[in-house]
């Protein structure tokens, strides 16, 4: 099954080319030009990974990362950035970013990170489901 990816960047040309290249690699790509737009899409649709620019006008990547992880902890977020400082990278990883990639990104490296993110998400969802079942069994004396 193809990976469902949400690509978030304020540069429209970057979105167009990246989504074309990712689609050619078998991924199902949805794009958003801002963090606010991304949040609205996430509320309606499910994704295996979110690839998001770290610095965007309005709500920046860090703020968006916190909001998304707070609402949907299972979502895997790969941050793209022009220049990653050690402090920002550490902070983003602490908040829950799955991975970091510096621009210009290598498409094959990004594809591998997306595949890993999908596996990680499936493990989390499996664990969440197991816990829910356990909880139901305990409640109803199973």
């Amino acid at each position: 099954m193809s990976e469902k990816v949400l690509l978030v960047d304020d540069e429209i040309e970057f979105l167009e080319i990246m989504s074309e290249r990712m689609t050619a690699r078998g991924m199902e790509v949805t794009t958003a030009q801002s963090a606010d737009q991304a949040l609205a899409i996430i509320a309606k649709k499910s994704f295996d990974a979110i690839v998001m620019d770290f610095q965007m006008p309005g709500m920046d990547g860090m703020e968006a990362l916190k909001t998304i992880k707070n609402k949907r902890p299972e979502l895997q977020i790969i941050l793209l950035t022009g220049y990653a400082t050690v402090e920002k990278t550490v902070e983003a990883m602490k908040v829950g970013a799955t991975d970091f990639l510096e621009k210009p990104a290598d498409i094959e490296a990004l594809s591998n990170k997306i595949k890993n993110a999908k596996t990680e998400k499936m493990l989390i969802v499996e664990k969440q489901t197991e816990e829910k079942i356990k909880d139901i069994l305990q409640r109803y004396g199973g």
């Binding site: 970057f14 080319i17 290249r21 050619a24 610095q55 006008p57 022009g82 220049y83 210009p104």
Partner: protein, 219 residues
């Protein structure tokens, strides 16, 4: 070196760093698009080798996109180069309006990141001052930053110029309903050092949420 000299040097280095970081980020973004466009051409050529038809229109479109990004990169480099030369002379005759327009172009990405809209109302006549260009640019950026920073939500700033050529001034009108914002403006020691070095005084108008940088004439 006096304490003010140190503060001035710190303010200058910080300003130079901010502008360089912003410009290099812009370049990284354009390079990234060029990189992906080149990658897309590679993808298409690989597909063509496997027998998929190659659209010449598509190739033309990608090539135009790359040219556009190269031009965009060149513009960023041009403004970074012009900015770097601001430190060449200790004092020079400076056109205030042209300097404000240049600073606004230089900081456009930083302003956009703050979600702010800054506009300039053209001056009625050219206003010239003899000053240190680099620190004047620094002062203008600090004024823009101050004007945006004190506002909440949608940040709007209108920059205009005084009408008396003998008493040059730059005015920053903020679109805000927030009270007591004037007290927060130019409160840092570095700002005070900058103002003192340029011999600029600040006039705050609480009635309409504006403030002016009053520059010395000295030509």
């Amino acid at each position: 070196m006096t304490k003010n000299d140190n503060l001035l040097a710190e303010a200058g280095v910080k300003f130079f760093g901010q502008m360089s970081a912003s410009a290099t980020h812009e370049i990284k973004n354009t390079l990234s698009i060029i990189n992906e466009s080149s990658g897309l051409l590679h993808d298409l050529s690989m597909m063509a080798q496997k027998g998929h038809p190659l659209s010449l229109e598509r190739i033309k479109d990608i090539s135009q996109r790359m040219t556009r990004q190269v031009k965009k990169t060149d513009l960023v480099l041009q403004k970074l180069n012009r900015f770097s030369h601001s430190v060449d002379l200790a004092k020079e005759i400076v056109d205030i309006e042209k300097t404000v327009t240049f600073v606004l172009d230089l900081v456009s990405r930083l302003v956009e990141m703050q979600g702010a809209i800054v506009k300039v109302k053209p001056a009625l006549s050219p206003m010239l001052v003899s000053t240190n260009l680099f620190y004047l640019e620094n002062m203008i950026w600090r004024a823009i930053e101050n004007a945006c920073f004190v506002q909440e939500g949608e940040k709007k700033v209108m920059i205009s110029f005084g009408t008396d050529p003998k008493a040059p001034s730059i005015w920053f009108l903020m679109d805000t309903t927030k009270d007591d914002i004037m007290d927060d403006l130019f409160g840092s020691e570095k700002d005070h050092a900058l103002l003192a070095y340029l011999d600029v005084s600040i006039k705050k108008n609480k009635e309409n949420n504006s403030f002016g940088l009053l520059l010395p004439k000295r030509i």
